[in-house]
């Protein structure tokens, strides 16, 4: 309904037809009355409802933003904890590798020490055998020398001298060095 719609009403009035019998005029009046009533009585509740709706939406937006911030914070914490866990795992692995290397070095050192001890023991045993053989040669040399000396003395001295001479010589035998 617009002002143009009034034109036929006025034209009918001009033609002698009563104005109040026109339906369009009453429709126009009803519309105007509806608008006036709506503005007079419905503006404030609608405004209040829209404001309440705006506040609810703003509150929901705030809640969502806080939730998002909390989620981001939690995600950051989780990422930090994950990074710390990975660092701890790396630390455990590095510690294990270091410990393994240290133990291996120690065991290798023990092996070298043991090998050196075995070689030293063999060298000591070789020296002992050398001394044993040397003592044997010296002992057999002295024995043979005594046998030969005894034979020579038997041909040069009479039996009466033998016992006394060999007893005397035996006391000095320690002074003889081959």
């Amino acid at each position: 309904m617009s002002l143009l719609s009034v034109l036929p009403v006025l034209s009918e009035h001009a033609s002698g037809v009563p104005v109040w019998s026109n339906g369009d005029l009453w429709s126009l009046i009803n519309f105007v009355l509806l608008v006036v009533l709506l503005v007079r009585f419905g503006g404030a509740p609608i405004k209040t409802a829209l404001e309440a709706r705006r506040l609810r939406v703003a509150d929901e937006v705030d809640q969502l933003e806080r939730g998002l911030a909390e989620a981001q914070s939690a995600l950051g914490r989780q990422k930090g904890e994950a990074d710390a866990g990975l660092a701890q795992l790396e630390q455990i692995g590095a510690g294990a590798r270091a410990m393994a290397e240290s133990l291996a070095v120690g065991i290798r050192a023990e092996a070298e020490t043991e090998a050196a001890r075995i070689k030293a023991s063999a060298a000591s045993e070789s020296d002992r055998i050398r001394r044993s053989f040397s003592d044997e040669v010296r002992r057999r040399l002295v024995e043979a020398a005594f046998v030969r000396a005894e034979a020579q003395l038997a041909s040069r001295l009479g039996p009466e001298h033998h016992a006394a001479l060999f007893d005397d010589f035996s006391a000095k035998v320690a002074e003889v060095t081959p």
Binding site: R108, I118, S126, L141, R156, P178
Partner: protein, 85 residues
């Protein structure tokens, strides 16, 4: 769970390294023992040969020592006779 797995993995790394090192040690010790035994056996043979050669060439040394013994005995005898006279 991952921490437990990491600890098990670390223990496995340590165990493996220790086992390898011990195997290496056993090899080194066995090689040293074998080398020492061979060296000792060779030294024993060489010394035995040296001893046999020394025993086979003692005649001159035996004669020299026997002469010294005889000289000592005769000198002692002369000293005894001089003392009794």
């Amino acid at each position: 769970m991952r921490l437990v797995d990491a600890q098990r993995s670390a223990q496995a790394v340590v165990d493996k390294a220790v086992a390898e090192a011990r195997a290496e040690k056993a090899g080194v010790v066995a090689a040293a023992t074998q080398e020492a035994a061979a060296s000792l056996d060779q030294a024993r043979k060489a010394l035995a040969e040296e001893r046999d050669r020394a025993l086979g060439s003692l005649d001159g040394e035996v004669e020299r020592i026997a002469e010294r013994i005889v000289g000592q005995v005769l000198s002692s005898d002369r000293a005894r006779e001089g003392a009794s006279a």
